[in-house]
Symmetry: C2
């Protein structure tokens, strides 16, 4: 099946299923069913079955899903059975937090390089990384083959740094700056703007 045929809204749910399944694994469970998985992620069993059926036949009627098998399949589908090196740009609070974030290690990512444009920070140490000058983004990232970046620079700098990342060959950007980025076709951006997350919820509050 052509991957363009599968709606992005379904793709967006796969990482959530994977996280819930890993959690079950950590609790020592071996099998689950769409009902239980649905409860864990706040969706109906029918939705789970429909989403997963896009990618093949993962469960057996009556016996449910083998968790380890489904985890393996989802990791392959999402391409996180490998580890992606990630560049972090912007060594403010958020960049610091991400550089030492423990939640990437077994989920397909590893911070490999960090950048800032502040003379006071360049050459200094953040965790095990020496902070590089953002001016080196194109050469350093090209050389290393990094395809994934996290953007934690101020709003005013975000588009300029994005242009450098794209020029460097980065294909996927997780953007913490509160601004919509312009990128060419074939470059993916996800936004982790806390205000957006909060505003999505206040709509529903009285």
């Amino acid at each position: 099946m052509n991957k363009q045929d599968i709606p992005d809204i379904i793709i967006s749910r796969l990482p959530v299923y994977l996280r819930a399944l890993r959690h079950m694994q950590a609790e020592g469970k071996l099998t689950t069913c769409s009902q239980e998985l649905g409860t864990g992620v706040g969706l109906s069993a029918a939705q789970i079955r429909k989403d997963l059926s896009q990618f093949g036949e993962f469960g057996k009627q009556g016996t449910g899903y083998d968790i380890a098998f489904l985890v393996d399949q989802l990791r392959k589908i999402l391409k996180v059975e490998r580890v992606w090196d990630v560049a972090v740009v912007g060594m403010g609070d958020m960049g610091h937090a991400l550089s030492r974030y423990q939640g990437f290690s077994d989920r397909g990512f590893r911070v490999a390089m960090v950048f800032d444009n502040d003379r006071a920070k360049i050459g200094g140490q953040v965790e095990q990384f020496v902070v590089r000058d953002t001016k080196e983004i194109v050469t350093a990232i090209r050389e290393s083959g990094i395809k994934v970046a996290m953007l934690c620079v101020p709003e005013a700098a975000a588009q300029g740094v994005t242009d450098l990342l794209v020029e460097a060959g980065v294909k996927a950007i997780l953007n913490y700056a509160p601004i919509s980025l312009s990128v060419p076709e074939g470059i993916y951006v996800q936004y982790l703007d806390p205000s957006i997350g909060l505003q999505r919820m206040t709509y529903y509050l009285e």
Copy 2:
């Protein structure tokens, strides 16, 4: 119109429109059109028009949208024409970063209270806040009437703290812990798990 009638996927886009419109405002623009707004957020003009039409008639054929008016309307719809006090639980890197995050101030939110369960941190200062004991969550949040919280505790503590927040009357939780939370009906959770954002994109990479 009953708000349950409007799909959540549309609600999820309104904060993004608002952010883009505020950005145009900051650049001194007075009017825009669905085409331009669409380009800014990566959606079609038709989608923008369809989404906004759920809430009324905001633009005029031929003249487009008055940005200030549309910003006001979206802020009212999302209930961020007021300022929501927010509690932050967990004073690790992420909690620290959020406590001093500058991006909330004119977007409807203000950090008002911070918590941790670490004796070494309780009573200490983070920004202008004195760190409170997580044991005080129920009394302190109830007393203050806070309805919104950001959860930055480790995975193992997240569900327990969530239960306290719900008991305290919190209705909306922005969760940074890499775990799906169980909450009763009428409580809203949004997840800001960076691994999830990254995995959504690696699916598309070669």
